[in-house]
């Protein structure tokens, strides 16, 4: 029977056409391309479809046309609201820039009882008080901290082993809280510690002042102890006992752990994940080694390349997804960060996935000697003798002098990925960021040649793998979507 209606094309506007809205595209795999707009919304296309779309020959009644229109890749006669919507989303995505520096790291001492080969800090022996921050420096650091306009201030204590100078931690916490009576910021504290010197007194103070604990756990006992040697060779046992005591005193959610991937870790990703599951953690950050500080001197950084780490990451993510399918609720935290960028209108606080870079304007670090650096990696570099990122000294320079110093502004200005060769046309730009520290360490250039960049290779490998899972594996997509608000 003949239809009483005309064909669909009949009802389209007489001069139907469309305009492209800004987007970038990259190859996803051998057959497919991924197009991503200014705010991270994506659409997969075959090469022919991409060509048809860009050359304005895509049928306006096709499913792909509606998908592209819904995600603001085009604007047509029917609707001109896409640009306005994109504007609102861009504003949400970039909101963090205006909030400015939130994370303030205090290196209260450089002394440490561990001698980890991969350690990014050139540690000093425990008994050299010359490597402790003083109260006078801490006061100036707090002055600096509260100059930030950020409504949320996180103070992180680092080392060395910060518990070796716990008296100064107490001094800083109490003074920060006193200042905050007037400042009324959302104030948080965390101690990054190996837990060796944890006492009931310390735990009591942490409980009374809501100080969180972050520690290192590299995997099963033999791997952890090999990575993190200390007198007695019992770092694993001390860490596990410390985690238990800290959880009992502070609550399970107040204690977190970080792992570092060494060459010895590469073949053991499932064992490492099993260790985190066994210890009751809700997730793991499969963190690669960074080319900074002592890790360079000991050549630990040369232990593996980006491809090896990517293989480690992919195996780990597959295993974690398998655990989830079996009912174990567990996440990989680098993936959760990327998913937040891919699937929400908001930007994450992750320093190394921001453009402009997060150096100085997301986090800042006060070294034990009063020197100020725009990132933890920058002060590690300084410990090895290269002070290119040194913004000044708390005891001699003003806030304005340090925040406007070329040591910060030059790499920061160079770090707009939107203006960087290869990045400016990369589909993954809204998910990625800039890392001037990494590129200076590996190429002696704040921007770096992205075709030669391990940072670029690693991130693109992760983005592609996650997108393939989201697109091709519905069951895994469901699990990954649940990680967005982990």
């Amino acid at each position: 029977m003949a239809s009483v209606f005309q064909d669909e094309e009949f009802y389209l506007p007489a001069h139907h056409t469309y305009s492209l809205l800004p987007f970038r595209f990259s190859r996803l795999d051998s057959d497919r391309y991924v197009a991503v707009n200014e705010v991270g919304e994506s659409q997969l296309l075959l090469r022919d479809e991409l060509e048809l779309f860009v050359r304005k020959r895509l049928s306006q009644s096709s499913r792909l046309y509606y998908a592209l229109k819904a995600r603001h890749f085009l604007e047509d006669n029917d609707s001109d609201i896409a640009a306005d919507l994109l504007t609102l989303k861009v504003r949400s995505k970039r909101e963090r820039i205006a909030r400015f520096t939130s994370l303030h790291m205090f290196v209260v001492t450089l002394r440490c009882n561990h001698s980890c080969q991969y350690c990014q800090v050139s540690r000093q022996s425990e008994d050299r008080s010359a490597y402790d921050m003083t109260e006078a420096m801490a006061d100036r650091a707090l002055d600096f901290t509260f100059r930030s306009p950020s409504p949320a201030i996180k103070i992180e204590f680092q080392g060395g082993e910060p518990l070796l100078n716990f008296d100064l931690i107490k001094y800083i916490v109490l003074n920060a809280k006193r200042r905050n009576v007037v400042e009324k910021r959302d104030l948080a504290f965390v101690i990054a510690t190996n837990l060796s010197f944890l006492t009931d007194e310390i735990l009591g103070f942490c409980r009374d002042h809501a100080v969180q604990i972050s520690t290192s756990l590299d995997g099963p006992a033999d791997l952890h102890n090999a990575n993190r040697p200390k007198p007695g060779n019992d770092s694993y046992e001390v860490t596990i006992d410390g985690i238990r005591r800290a959880r009992e005193a502070l609550g399970v959610d107040q204690v977190s752990a970080l792992m570092t991937t060494t060459k010895a870790s590469l073949a053991r990703v499932t064992e490492i994940i099993d260790e985190y599951v066994k210890q009751g953690f809700r997730g793991i950050f499969l963190r690669n080694l960074s080319p900074y500080g002592f890790a360079i001197k000991t050549r630990y950084f040369d232990g593996y390349d980006s491809d090896s780490w990517l293989n480690f990451y992919r195996c780990g993510l597959d295993y974690i997804l398998q655990l989830n399918k079996q009912g174990c609720s567990f996440a990989e935290f680098f993936t959760t960060t990327v998913l937040q960028k891919m699937l929400t209108p908001y930007e994450t606080g992750f320093v190394n996935l921001r453009s402009p870079a997060g150096i100085g304007i997301a986090g800042i670090i006060f070294s034990y000697n009063g020197e100020v650096y725009p990132s933890d990696e920058a002060r590690m570099k300084a410990e090895m003798g290269d002070k290119i990122f040194c913004m000044g000294n708390l005891m001699t320079d003003t806030y304005e002098q340090m925040m406007l110093s070329p040591a910060l502004l030059t790499p920061l200005e160079d770090s707009f990925a939107e203006s960087v060769p290869m990045c400016e046309e990369c589909a993954f730009l809204p998910y990625c960021g800039s890392d001037p520290d990494y590129h200076y360490a590996t190429q002696r250039d704040f921007v770096g040649h992205k075709a030669l960049s391990g940072f670029c290779k690693k991130n693109m490998g992760v983005f592609r793998y996650i997108i393939q899972k989201l697109e091709d594996k519905p069951e895994e997509r469901q699990i990954l979507e649940s990680w967005v608000n982990w």
């Binding site: 305009s19 800004p22 970038r24 504003r91 075709a451």
Partner: protein, 106 residues
């Protein structure tokens, strides 16, 4: 594209710049910088010779990969040409009510 000449690990593309821009060619060369050295040389007013030397990582598909990248760069130029004004407008509008933009005093 006027032609491809292969020579061991190297090959030469002759490119008509009325079809593909010099910028697209240079961006293509930049993308392959990790695995090849590139020499661009003008031949006539409109033709450029591009020598790709893939020494050490030769693959018989290298010319196809390079040409596919050149086609992608060409497509990117179209998108950039059409969307740069609206992209700038969106960014300007997005930041217009933030404290990040200094306003001129009236």
């Amino acid at each position: 594209m006027n032609g491809i000449t292969r020579d061991g690990d190297s090959f030469v593309l002759l490119v008509d710049t009325r079809v593909y821009s010099l910028e697209a060619l240079k961006k293509t060369a930049y993308t392959f910088a990790a695995v090849t050295s590139v020499i661009l040389e003008p031949k006539t007013d409109n033709v450029v010779s591009v020598l790709f030397n893939f020494a050490g990582s030769h693959s018989k598909n290298d010319p196809e990969r390079v040409i596919a990248e050149l086609l992608d760069q060409d497509l990117r130029e179209i998108i950039k040409r059409e969307t740069t004004p609206v992209r700038n407008l969106i960014l300007a509008h997005a930041f217009s009510r933030s404290s990040l933009v200094e306003r001129d005093e009236a």
